[in-house]
Amino acid sequence: MHIPDGYLSPATCVTLYAACIPFWRTALGRVKKVMHSRQVPLLSLFAAFSFVIMMFNLPLPGGTTGHATGIGLATVVLGPWAAMLAVSVALVVQALFFGDGGVTAIGANCFNMAIAGSLVAYAVYRLLAGRSALASARRVVAAGLAGYVAINVSAFLAAVEFGIQPLLYKDATGAPLYCPYPLSVAIPAMMIGHLTIAGLAELAVSAGVVAFLQRSDLSLLRSTAGKIAVAAQTVALAGARPLRALWAGLAVFMVLTPLGILAAGSAWGEWMASDYANPAARAQMAAASFSHVAPPSPPQGLQRLSSVWTAPFARYAPPYIRGAAFGYVLSAMFGTGLIVLACLMLGRFTQSAARPGPAVP
């Protein structure tokens, strides 16, 4: 996923360099506060470690191998800010001395992998690990998924950066000057490989090493478990207080869902079979598709499959609710409830699967 020189326009590169600066400054400030002068060798050594584990090619199902970036693992061990700096340093060294990633694209690569990757990995890890004990299997699952989601978010950002190039930069003959593939090609091309093989490598390394550390050196997992792990040990403590703000925010968003009614038309590619016969919908399709006119009748596959399943809340408007706004709110409540239920069941399942481990030190 290292973007080489020549794939992104200078304007994109400069923008992403600029986007990295506030994160690097904040990260350096936060790391200094926590680790003081110890940060210098720690960050250097961890960056060197990230560099080396990228050379371990994991045999994966399907006869291929993949290597991990270590973003998830760095985040779980160091925390998001220190991980951001360590992975950035590894990326800079790779670009300067090993030809892996371009010099002009250092900002883009750091933004995608080090910055977005670390923040996403941390959010996923904390969300899924919850208050589980340091030695619980839930933390292994959380670390694996943190790495998996982080690498896919990084890949998605890179795909978007690639995909906007042909829209913005062409020469006099109409030839794209940088990455030639539009979003419709760049996103699937990047995501298929990362959602499957590269993501699996990341998942295996993050989960595997956390499981290894649980058996060999539990203290290395303590810095990012912090208060939550202690809270789990010392009974109820503040109860659900840390989650209160999240619940309140979620409620506000649910109430605001009727704002979706204000959006004109439907999302690109989410058309229904009946839209092909509707002149107004056809005009929207053409306007949203660079004036490409839709075929006169819906594709056969769409026609055939569109009647296979009828959602109870189709188009966020249950048939038995008259008010569109209330239908939106009800859909949001139902959807959110299902997700919360699924998360609770997953949490229960992973806790019951956990091996009895030592008490949190």
Binding site: M1, P4, D5, G6, P10, S37, R38, V40, P41, L42, L43, S44, L45, F46, F49, F51, V52, I53, M54, M55, F56, N57, L58, L60, P61, G63, T64, T65, G66, H67, I71, V77, A90, V93, L96, F97, G99, D100, G102, V103, T104, I151, D171, G174, A175, P176, Y178, P180, Y181, V185, H194, A198, A201, A204, V205, G208, V209, F212, L213, L220
Partner: protein
Amino acid sequence: MSGVHPHKRGGFIENTLEGLHTAMERALYAEASASRGGLLQRLDPRVKVVGVFSLIAAVALATKLWLIAAVLTLAVLLAAFSAIPLRVLASRAWIAALLFSGIIAAPALFLTPGTSLYGLPITVQGARTAAFLVLRAETAATLMLVLIYTTPWMHVLKALRIFRVPVVAVVILGMTCRYILLMLETAHEMFESRKSRTVNAMTPAEQRRLAVAGSGVLLGKTLHMSGEVYLAMQARGFRGEVFLLEDFQMGKLDWLALGAFAALASASIWAGR
């Protein structure tokens, strides 16, 4: 960063050992090459860093293929005058960049809309965009190789101060470079000792377990080493303040080279509009 590779012939241990060995070999070759007598080796590192980065920027801004090709020719000439053999450029920059960018650029020949090229199923616009992609990648890779094969790595990092890179960042980058070699050696020894105790082929699951355990052990060693390095730094008087010795001196040749690089980069940017 993440990557996918088809299975190589050897097992996991052999392939990993080979990768680690290649990385170490390249780093050592760069150090040896930087101490040879050549045109660029004689220049101040700051001049080389500014010159190479300016030319890479000119290539990124160029909208004309001939200009990118001209900068590539210049990079090859610089390499030739700096005792970097062509076969080294070919094996370490050109083939790798061509394979990577060529695979990515090839579909653009067919997918880019435009006028057909001599009745073939490819378009003129597709051929141009593929050429832009491959030429830019080749030129930037060649320029960077010329820089790192003519300049000790620590000097490249110190020269980054010209771009206002903070001292602490330069120090961290320098330490990382130094410890990468140590880590590569540690990992190499770990896998070599495992290989010497392996008498049968390992299953993919066993190889995965070995890779994960190796990563875990290396992580433990990293953090242990970090503590030791910190104590050693403290013993030498480190109290949180980092300094760099600014020992570069600009001579007549350096000023001349700086002027030449500035003129070439400006002309390239102007001509490539």
